[in-house]
């Protein structure tokens, strides 16, 4: 009965951000930036995932995703990327979530359907590791949001976001899709970007 009061839109965004949080945790685990012991197994939507244990890490991801939520709600976020950079701050790998929330979607929100689709992402991620090369040592990572328009300095956490100075690749990257879902209320695509061959030689 409480559910009906919420807008389907809000529910979608909530589901999406929650999924993002879990997925980011999982990606960080999968890429082996931190020792496996820093994570613990949990279940999300009945899928075993790994969740960061250190409060700092967890809070970092959590706070970012939470602050993203308002912008996703406003349909300002185009992509959310997890960027792994080497010690020279040059990105070596990007996990990109491309989001598209259908704002006009009004009809009944079928949480199960969306969750079912999102679940596939996590399953795919768990096996995707084998298709990736190990990251170099001394990697750093960050979460970067690509906005359609710059967030204003509104009071809702906009000031938390700073324009990124992440170095970019000269050449268009190579894209490896991980998983896509498209539904009426929500499109999500996850793919991995790597520097192109020529870029790597530079």
């Amino acid at each position: 009965m409480d559910r009906s009061k919420r807008s389907p839109q809000g529910e979608i965004v909530r589901t999406l951000t929650e999924f993002l949080e879990v997925a980011i945790n999982f990606v960080v685990y999968v890429r082996g930036i931190y020792p496996a012991e820093a994570f613990e197994r949990r279940r999300y939507m009945n899928i075993p995932v790994q969740c960061a244990r250190p409060p700092i890490l967890r809070d970092y991801i959590h706070s970012i995703v939470q602050s993203l939520q308002t912008y996703i709600d406003k349909d300002m976020v185009e992509r959310v990327a997890i960027i792994f950079s080497d010690k020279n701050q040059i990105p070596v790998e990007k996990f990109v979530f491309r989001l598209n929330v259908n704002k006009s979607f009004k009809s009944d929100f079928l949480a199960n359907d969306v969750e079912y689709a999102l679940r596939a992402f996590l399953i795919k991620l768990s096996v995707f590791e084998s298709r990736l090369q190990p990251l170099p040592d001394d990697c750093a990572w960050e979460i970067v949001g690509y906005f359609k328009q710059l967030p204003g300095n509104s009071s809702d956490g906009g000031q938390l976001w700073i324009p990124t100075d992440t170095k970019h690749w000269q050449q268009p990257p190579l894209i490896t899709p991980v998983k896509s879902m498209s539904s009426e209320p929500l499109d999500v695509q996850l793919y991995v970007e790597h520097p192109s061959e020529s870029e790597r030689k530079l």
Binding site: M1, S130, I175
Partner: protein, 1257 residues
């Protein structure tokens, strides 16, 4: 009268209903039996339909009663208030929409409640149903339901019956909050509620500050649960359970806040600021928690339970911050009776615990006698079948059970002979009024009725001159060691039961009576303590004999005396029969074994459960199949303290847990074990139980326990502490109620293996490093005289190496005694380079093979690494093989051993690993989805088994016919190519003259070049070499080309089978060569059973090939003649999409086939599934058609282009999948290759446009 009738009727009905409920199991069983007996007469299909029918009728009755209730005025037993209300006449719809379910005994009774519901428009449900019931009414709940409230109530409000009465009284629906069951409202009665907190809000600045903080929590928790400072609101059970829990949590926070406030009331403003700051943390956490669990609620019970972890952790955090706050405010804590004043309580506790001594003694024993006994016991009675016949068992075995007489006492008093005949007991406290328990008493004391487990004060009452002595653990240890020295001296097969009790298996030794006597005598001589012995045919009887023998005697139950001995034995004497079981049996008028024997096994099992029943049946006949065995392995290690546990606050708990974890950690380390599963058990004072009789004891408790599995085995205090605190917090207990805590670590692993497992994903890291340096595979054959274990060693060793980023893998094929070959993938080019820089290695020929052979495996494999794996070959004296390695550019040299055919598990594993590696490394582009990968892996497994199962000839490569073509077909292309290349390469070296080989090489080289695979230059080189080696045979060159693709698609690696040979070519060969080929082929194909099923399919291929030869040109001509022009239309619209029709009507056979495939397989959703269908069963036309009409290609690629354009925006995955499938298709067919080349630029442009990058192909 009318009243009487009205109230009786529902009563009887209710009774029936409850009857049905109670005998649910019986009815079910009975129903099924009867229905099977009398088929036609059964009115209900099953129990479910019966129940639903019953419920429907009950509802109907209820409704009709409700309709009649007012006119009849049947209900006169209403309370006066409701009578008045009903008099006003507007009571009818009071409970409209409310449907209650009454659980258990209530006041007013469920009948009265039912009548109220009838009268006031509500509904009454006889059976619980989540759909129909809105409120659960009960006065008290069993503990199990409280603990598992969610599953019991399904989120419905659980209210007291008073609610209904009061609602009627007030003539409106009151809020359920105040009527909620207390035990649910708050776990412990002395906790204060949120309302009290808010009511004092205005009293001081301090409190109001925190108050606002909590407002934040509450308002943010969502509109539907605005707290408004009302407790009743908090308990509003209309909301889902999860919300309620959160609120309860915030409630606990507030309670602790209240405590702090009370304590810190006189502190100044500054501290208050700190306090506020601290509180922000829990508030935030609560918010998060709310979101999550709210969601969990939305997606069902499962998720909720999962989120419990989240919640519990947050809770822990809260308590952390609470602790911090408390400590910062430096509030003095008062400990009234907590023994935790003693900071080292846990250590001291275990120092003085007898049970702990016995427990740890086991470790000591195991270490001391490790290996001494186990080996001898192993395989002792392999010949003796455990027949159920008592006499035969007794005939074959002789067991002595040795038990020290009142061990704990006699050890202590052996230095005090004057105490020998005085009553003595051992206890850790000699306070005559104390509640310490006597652990052991000597026989004079037992004569006074003193028993172990008695309180000292009771014992003193029985025997005032009882002498109580403390434990002397070092003496116990010493005596126990002596005891076991003696036992092991006399007998190899000793099973230690405890420090003072053991079984000896003296079967086959001389007179058991004599042995027992000697042992007892020796024990007395050495330790000055007496022992008793029982001798019998099995463990059970020998133990019972000892009982008879005590004190200081021995008793032999001979096989013929068994029945006599048992006949009048009271059942309480049987091990495993405790007071409860005894009482149950006594109720059945069973007092001794002969009575017990008269009951059949089935009856016993029915009455007491299958295990207990079985035990009783056997024991009453003196049957015991257990064997004397050395100490069991630990299953769990842990520590538990149930005495003296009292806490005042969470800090105490933390401190205690820390000590406990420390203890457990030490025990783990002592046992050289690490565990992955951690269980915390908490004893919580049972509600209503008073202070226990025993001083500081645990009293009557509820046991709560919970487990958590951690990713890597641990023995670290930190991890244990973290987990245990987490678990403790998850119980949501009031620390004051805790009476005992136990921590156990399960899923133990020995420390050595832990070390190996500690490197995360050994295989993965290895795979990862593999992909850096692909295709540098070399082969080693190891001479390996030992079997399994040694191989295992090697593999383990390799794992270590992998850990160090030196990736290689020994792979053993077969576990025969001869050569065991291992294939090693060396991915350490860099590493090797480095080590070679260190200094030049002596040439391999300079190494002395005999010296090498004597080296330990580790060193050997290390040296082996340095020589790129040639050393082991060298040792095994297989000079040829090592020579072969020097052949340049040969990337895979694969050698199959002369296996005995026994399936080695290692082989299977390593093959799997290998293929997995190959998948990752070479097939990144063609591998589609994980499912596929899995099936491939399965296939590899089969392949591995096939390889092992087949008895091979002594050739270097497993003959290709040994490979299952179906498996090969299922392999990803690149993998197949690799196998194929390796065959061609080896064959090229080996048999240059065989035309078949030449043919084969042609095949492989052709297919290799058709793949644009720049990363595999090495392959090309290999093939280049291969083709150059057959260049003296030019006549085959041109002709093989047109069959190549087909062969590639069919059975790539089956190079030596007949089906591989193109008939056309064969026919054009000179007849003598033809005959040679035909003769030589069967020789390479041993008739092995597992492959027989594979052969027919190959013959089919052969037939197809035969026919095919005449066809292709024709079909191609057809294609060439007609061909539709295609235009820009939306192909993908419609169902089936337009293109399907378009293609079907097209004159091109290929397009028709595509369309056909689409319709046939009903892969209507996506093109990827269509392509997948095509890949799995590619029609021959695609392969054979060499002359492809441009127009059909255009048409098909236009479709794909359009599809890509459509999909690229939101389903790049599908696009990627399609392209990869195309890529796989294009090596099989020119047609697809052309399409592929056409669409790629469009694809990349589209992807670039949308994603700013290129699709990785």
């Amino acid at each position: 009268m009318s009243h009487g009738r009205a109230s009786l009727r529902p009563n009887s009905k209710r009774k029936r209903a409850s009857d049905g409920n109670r005998t649910l199991g019986m009815v079910w069983g009975a129903n099924s039996v009867s229905s099977s007996k009398s088929k036609g007469s059964a009115a209900f299909k099953d129990f479910g339909s019966y129940m639903s029918e019953k419920e429907r009728k009950l509802r109907l009755q209820f409704q009709s009663e409700a309709e009649n209730s007012l006119p009849n005025d049947a209900i006169t037993d209403l309370p006066s208030t409701s009578e008045n209300v009903s008099g006003t006449g507007n009571s009818n719809g009071l409970f409209g929409g409310i449907s209650i379910f009454v659980d258990g005994f209530t006041i007013p009774s469920n009948q009265e409640l039912r009548n109220y519901m009838i009268r006031y428009g509500g509904r009454y449900e006889n059976y619980f149903s989540r759909e129909r019931v809105t409120h659960i009414i009960c006065s008290n709940l069993p503990n199990s339901k409280i603990k598992n409230l969610r599953s019991f109530s399904r989120g419905l409000p659980v209210v007291k019956p008073q609610w209904i009465v009061d609602c009627i009284g007030a003539n409106k629906i009151l809020h359920v909050g105040p009527y909620q069951l207390e035990c649910l409202a708050n776990e412990c009665p002395q906790q204060q509620r949120l309302s009290t907190f808010f009511s004092v809000k205005s009293n001081s600045l301090t409190e109001s500050n925190i108050g606002t903080e909590f407002k934040v929590v509450s308002t943010c928790s969502g509109p539907e649960s605005s707290l408004n400072g009302e407790t009743s609101e908090r308990k509003n059970d209309c909301y889902s359970k999860s919300q309620e829990e959160i609120l309860q949590e915030s409630h606990t926070v507030s309670t602790s806040a209240q405590n702090i406030l009370a304590k810190g009331a006189n502190l100044n403003e500054e501290n208050v600021q700190i306090l506020n700051h601290e509180f922000q943390i829990p508030c935030l956490l609560n918010l998060k928690e709310y979101d999550i669990s709210n969601h969990g609620d939305a997606c069902g019970e499962n998720e909720i339970s999962e989120y419990d972890i989240f919640r519990s952790e947050n809770n822990e955090d809260i308590s952390n911050s609470m602790e911090a706050t408390e400590s910062r405010l430096s509030i003095t804590k008062y400990r009234s009776h907590s023994t935790l004043e003693d900071a080292n309580f846990v250590e001291n506790y275990f120092k003085n615990s007898r049970l702990h001594f016995i427990g740890t003694w086991r470790n000591r024993y195991r270490k001391r006698f490790a290996g001494k006994s186990s080996e001898e016991i192993q395989g002792q009675y392999t010949g003796v079948d455990s027949s159920s016949n008592t006499t035969s068992v007794a005939d074959s075995r002789v067991i002595i059970h040795v038990d020290m007489d009142c061990f704990f006492v006699s050890v202590v008093i052996r230095k005090h002979p004057e105490l020998n005949d005085k009553p003595v007991a051992v206890c850790h406290s000699d306070n005559p009024k104390g509640t310490a328990e006597i652990s052991s008493a000597n026989y004079p004391a037992r004569g006074h009725g003193i028993r172990a487990g008695m309180f000292v004060r009771d014992a003193k009452a029985l025997c005032p001159h009882l002498c109580i002595l403390p434990y002397d653990f070092s003496a116990y240890e010493e005596v126990a060691d002596h005891l076991y020295d003696i036992l092991h001296k006399h007998c190899n097969r000793v099973q230690a039961l405890s420090c003072d009790e053991a079984y000896l298996d003296v079967t086959g030794l001389h007179d058991p009576d004599h042995i027992a006597l000697a042992i007892r005598q020796e024990i007395f001589d050495v330790t000055k303590c007496t022992a008793s012995a029982g001798i019998a045919g099995n463990l059970l009887l020998s133990r019972m004999a000892t009982k008879r023998a005590k004190p200081n005697g021995q008793f032999h139950i001979r096989s013929k005396e068994v029945n006599e001995f048992l006949a009048y034995l009271p059942i309480s004497e049987l091990p495993g029969v405790g007071p409860t079981l005894q009482e149950k049996l006594n109720n059945q008028n069973v007092h001794n074994c002969s009575q017990l024997r008269s009951i059949s096994k089935d009856v016993l099992q029915r009455d007491f459960g299958s295990k207990t029943g079985d035990m009783l049946w056997h024991y009453s006949r003196g049957i015991d199949h257990r064997q004397v065995q050395s100490a069991m392995e630990h299953k769990s290690i842990g520590a538990e303290v149930n005495w003296g546990v009292r806490f005042n606050n969470s800090e105490d708990v933390h401190h205690f847990l820390m000590k406990l974890c420390n203890e457990v950690s030490l025990r783990l380390q002592g046992a050289c074990m690490r565990g992955r599963m951690i269980t915390l058990k908490v004893k919580k004072r049972k509600k209503g139980a008073g202070e226990p009789a025993k001083y500081m004891g645990c009293g009557i408790c509820d046991n709560i326990s919970h487990s958590v599995t951690v990713p890597s085995a641990t023995d670290s205090t930190d991890v244990l502490l973290r987990i245990s605190r987490q678990l403790f917090a998850s119980f949501h207990l009031d620390v004051k109620e805790v009476r005992g805590i136990g921590l156990q670590v399960l899923k133990l692993e020995a420390v050595e293996s832990c070390h190996q497992g500690s490197g995360k994903n050994v295989l993965k890291s290895w795979l990862a490093s593999m992909s850096k340096t692909p295709n540098s595979c070399e082969l080693v054959s190891i001479s390996n005289e030992e079997n399994g274990a040694a191989v295992c060693n090697l593999l383990q060793k390799n794992q270590l190496l992998l850990d160090m980023k030196d990736s290689n893998l020994m792979r053993d094929n077969g576990s025969g005694k001869g050569l065991q070959n291992a294939e090693r993938y060396d991915a350490k080019v860099k590493w090797k380079g480095k080590s070679l820089e260190g200094g030049p290695l002596p040439h391999i020929s300079q190494l002395d093979p005999t010296v090498l052979a004597c080296l330990p495996q580790e060193i050997l494999s290390e040296i082996n690494d340095f020589y790129n794996g040639k050393v082991l070959d060298y040792i095994s004296g297989n000079g040829k093989v090592s020579e072969r390695y020097s052949v340049p550019n040969m990337d895979v040299a694969y050698r199959q051993s002369t296996g005995t055919g026994s399936t080695s598990r290692h082989l299977g594993d390593s093959v799997l690993e290998e293929h997995k590696r190959k998948n990752t490394e070479g097939d990144l582009k063609t591998m589609d989805c994980d499912k596929r990968q899995k099936t491939e892996l399965k296939d590899h497994e089969e392949l591995a088994q096939d390889v092992v199962a087949s008895t091979t000839y002594s050739v270097d490569v497993p003959t290709p016919s040994q490979l299952d073509p179906s498996v090969l077909l299922a392999l990803p292309l690149s993998l197949r190519l690799e196998i194929q290349q390796h065959y061609s390469a080896t064959n090229a070296v080996k048999k240059k003259n065989s035309p078949v080989n030449v043919q084969r090489k042609e095949t492989s080289s052709r297919s290799q070049f058709s793949v644009s695979n720049p990363g595999k230059g090495i392959h090309k080189k290999v093939l280049g070499k291969a083709s150059s080696s057959n260049s003296h045979n030019p006549e085959f060159m041109g002709k093989s080309i047109d069959i190549v693709d087909r062969q590639t698609s069919n059975d790539d690696a089956v190079s030596l089978s007949l089906s591989q040979v193109d008939i056309k070519i064969l026919q054009e060969l000179p007849t003598d060569i033809q005959r040679y080929i035909k003769d030589s082929l069967p020789a390479h194909r041993p008739v092995v059973a597992p492959h027989e099923n594979a052969l027919p399919c190959k013959r089919e291929d052969y037939d197809i090939l035969n026919i095919e030869i005449n066809e292709p040109t024709n079909s191609c001509v057809k294609v060439g003649l007609k061909g539709d022009t295609c235009c820009e239309r939306s192909f993908c619209k419609g169902n089936p999409p337009e293109w399907v029709n378009d293609f079907r009507l097209s004159s091109c056979v290929l397009l028709q086939l595509i369309s056909e495939c689409y319709c046939k397989d009903d892969c209507s959703k996506s093109l990827s599934s269509l392509l997948l269908c095509l890949i799995s069963s590619l029609p021959e036309e695609f392969v054979s058609c060499t002359d492809i009409k441009e127009q059909s290609v255009t048409k098909c690629s236009d479709l794909l282009k359009q599809y890509i354009r459509e999909k690229v925006k939101y389903d790049i995955e599908e696009v990627h999948f399609c392209v990869r499938l195309l890529k796989r298709l294009n090596v099989k067919s020119e047609f697809w290759l052309a399409i592929y080349n056409t669409i790629i630029p469009t694809l990349q442009a589209n992807v670039g446009e949308t994603y700013g990058g290129n699709l990785k192909l």
